[in-house]
Symmetry: C2
């Protein structure tokens, strides 16, 4: 089995890109990754995306991206796992390289969400949940997360203001990332005054949609001894509907995929220097910290309150803004996380740099924890 | 690198399944494949599908299928490459097994097309072409294929009746397959009187949509010495829009993926005993035969006229009905082809059995030839 290295990184800023189509976004990120790697021809292109069929009327995205990159003849496919699509494309890239069949693979996550009606986007995003047993009840995706957060507060005795540190940290970090959608820190007062979107989730507990693309160029580690290496990669699913879980406050798929990745990497939670987690909603950040072994049950929020998640803390999270401030172009997010982790390990994270980072973990979540993909990267 | 064997095969009949949702169809095919293989637990599930987001409001199909199969904790993702989605899921299954990471992988193609408005289905299928440069002109997917067929007739001097053998063979073969949608042979007169759908494509030159699912259970060949083996597997893309091709009558991606698969298998076209090709339209069958080296340019139609494609001919095609008579549940089709080829090599094809078949080839096409995936299977 070949180990995998990340030779190239490319991304577009997350914005409302009214002048760029989904193909432009993907091609721009891919070109940047290929240029960064010094590679002109690849063997395969795996594209993570969620909504291209409905919002861009393109349901043949692998061929679309490969074609406009001029990479005719390669294998190219789109992977879809709701908001976990991009890390799932990374998984296929890793399998392709470890199998020995491919020597140079582009993985790209792309999403174009803003050039459509808000109601269209909301219903497209609701397809991450179970249409027949959840959405049919009229619940939106943020509504589902609000129910989980409500229960968490009830069981562990928090109120909604206790979640503020996740938002404050993300926005402070996003201010240092030129590719972030929101580049202004927010105060506790701003958080407290945040409009309620779905009680108890306020505007600042929820990540914003956006357009963007992020890409990595993968090669066998033996061919790039100086590049960041993938030392853990695993994906797991849980029940699609939250109401089918024994414990709606436990992300079992996070626990399973993280444990598998830790085992592959031969490390434990204490060895991780930074964690790009899936803070689509503050509650998901807390649950992710708990399921991955960074905090005890019900203590994820406490890690925020005690400053442990800050760039200077025990486990910096959302170091380039996270989903909240960098933005959440859903099917691209997993590769933004991996691109940012790679830049951190290369020492190329600019003002957002976490000094001395050697091991980074990323976790991309599809739906309300139904698909969870964990990666661990190491500086050479 | 591990070789891959097909230990289990499962499928649902292709029908208008008004009583089964997309999850039921997928789960039924998966259960059948697991039972056939005698396997109760898998490591991963890769789902091929095209339209679940728009037509079933489910954009999290990997988790959906794995969940309802009771396979919590596994990796599960959906692959999308328009009508080439299912063979693309097969590709990921193969990479997962050859990488050594997975020991038991379910690949399933599923599509639920009929429980929606006809206009909805037509526009969902048009997303296989390029929305920005083809569909925007008002052309439908069958319209694009009609343009190609028109040009083929013009260049090589055929008329539309010359294509009849593809339809006659498919319907005669479908009559012998209990899972086929259409189970009645048709006559030359029926073909000749076929209503024109998009000139020169008549009703019998076009495959029907349908609901269905087909699944395979893959394992390392070393663990199943008596099972059918995958000896070639390759995917290639061409330009998404037909008008961007140097020669619109040459399926370059078919040539490239077939040549790669021949090379892996160490065989040539003469060694293939049967070919499950992608006869979504008669013209695609002809072009596929030519690009894969079974006929000279412009002679694909001649193979039909000379009876070479019949069960008794030099190269039997569409042996269980093909897309035309078995039906074309788009994102499931590639795995129906692979399931049928496996049954043929096992000698389990019933009345449709091709005696003595040792090597079978399948080819699944996404869009108008933009994604083409070729597999070669061998009887142990």
């Amino acid at each position: 089995m070949h180990q995998v290295a990340i030779l190239g990184v490319g991304q577009t800023p997350v914005r409302e890109h009214w002048d760029l189509s989904i193909r432009d976004l993907a091609v721009n990120a891919c070109r940047a990754a290929m240029e960064d790697a010094g590679v002109e021809r690849v063997d395969a292109i795996y594209v993570g995306n969620m909504t291209s069929g409905e919002l861009s009327q393109q349901r043949h995205l692998g061929a679309l991206v490969a074609d406009f990159l001029g990479q005719w003849g390669v294998e190219a496919v789109k992977m879809e796992a709701a908001c976990g699509s991009a890390a799932s494309a990374m998984r296929m890239g890793i399998l392709a390289v470890t199998s020995g069949e491919m020597e140079s693979v582009l993985v790209v996550g792309v999403e174009k969400l803003t050039e459509s009606l808000g109601s269209q986007t909301t219903s497209a995003l609701a397809t991450a949940a179970d249409a027949d047993y959840e959405v049919i009840q009229g619940v939106s995706f943020v509504g589902l997360n609000a129910l989980v957060m409500q229960r968490y507060m009830h069981i562990y005795g928090y109120d909604r203001h206790d979640f503020a540190p996740f938002a404050l940290n993300a926005h402070a970090n996003g201010a240092k990332n030129p590719n972030a959608l929101f580049r202004a820190p927010i105060s506790q007062k701003t958080f407290d005054n945040g409009r309620i979107v779905a009680d108890p989730i306020s505007l600042f507990d929820a990540s914003p949609i956006g357009d963007g693309a992020a890409a990595l160029l993968l090669v066998p580690a033996a061919k790039a001894p100086d590049a960041v290496r993938v030392i853990g990669s695993a994906s797991a699913i849980d029940t699609l509907a939250i109401h089918d879980r024994e414990d709606p406050l436990w992300l079992k798929a996070a626990e399973q995929s993280a444990n598998k990745a830790y085992q592959q990497a031969g490390i434990g939670p204490d060895d991780v220097d930074l964690f790009e987690l899936h803070d689509a909603f503050s509650i998901m950040a807390a649950l992710s910290l708990e399921a991955c072994g960074f905090a005890e049950r019900g203590q994820g929020v406490r890690m925020g309150q005690e400053g442990e998640i800050l760039p200077t803390g025990r486990l910096p999270i959302a170091t380039m803004g996270g989903l909240k401030a960098r933005g959440h172009p859903v099917g691209a997010t997993g590769l933004y996380q991996l691109a940012e982790a790679t830049l951190q390990l290369r020492g190329q994270a600019g003002e957002a740099q976490i000094e001395g980072a050697k091991i980074a973990m990323t976790q991309n979540i599809g739906g309300s924890g139904a698909t969870i993909v964990t990666h661990i990267l190491e500086r050479p």
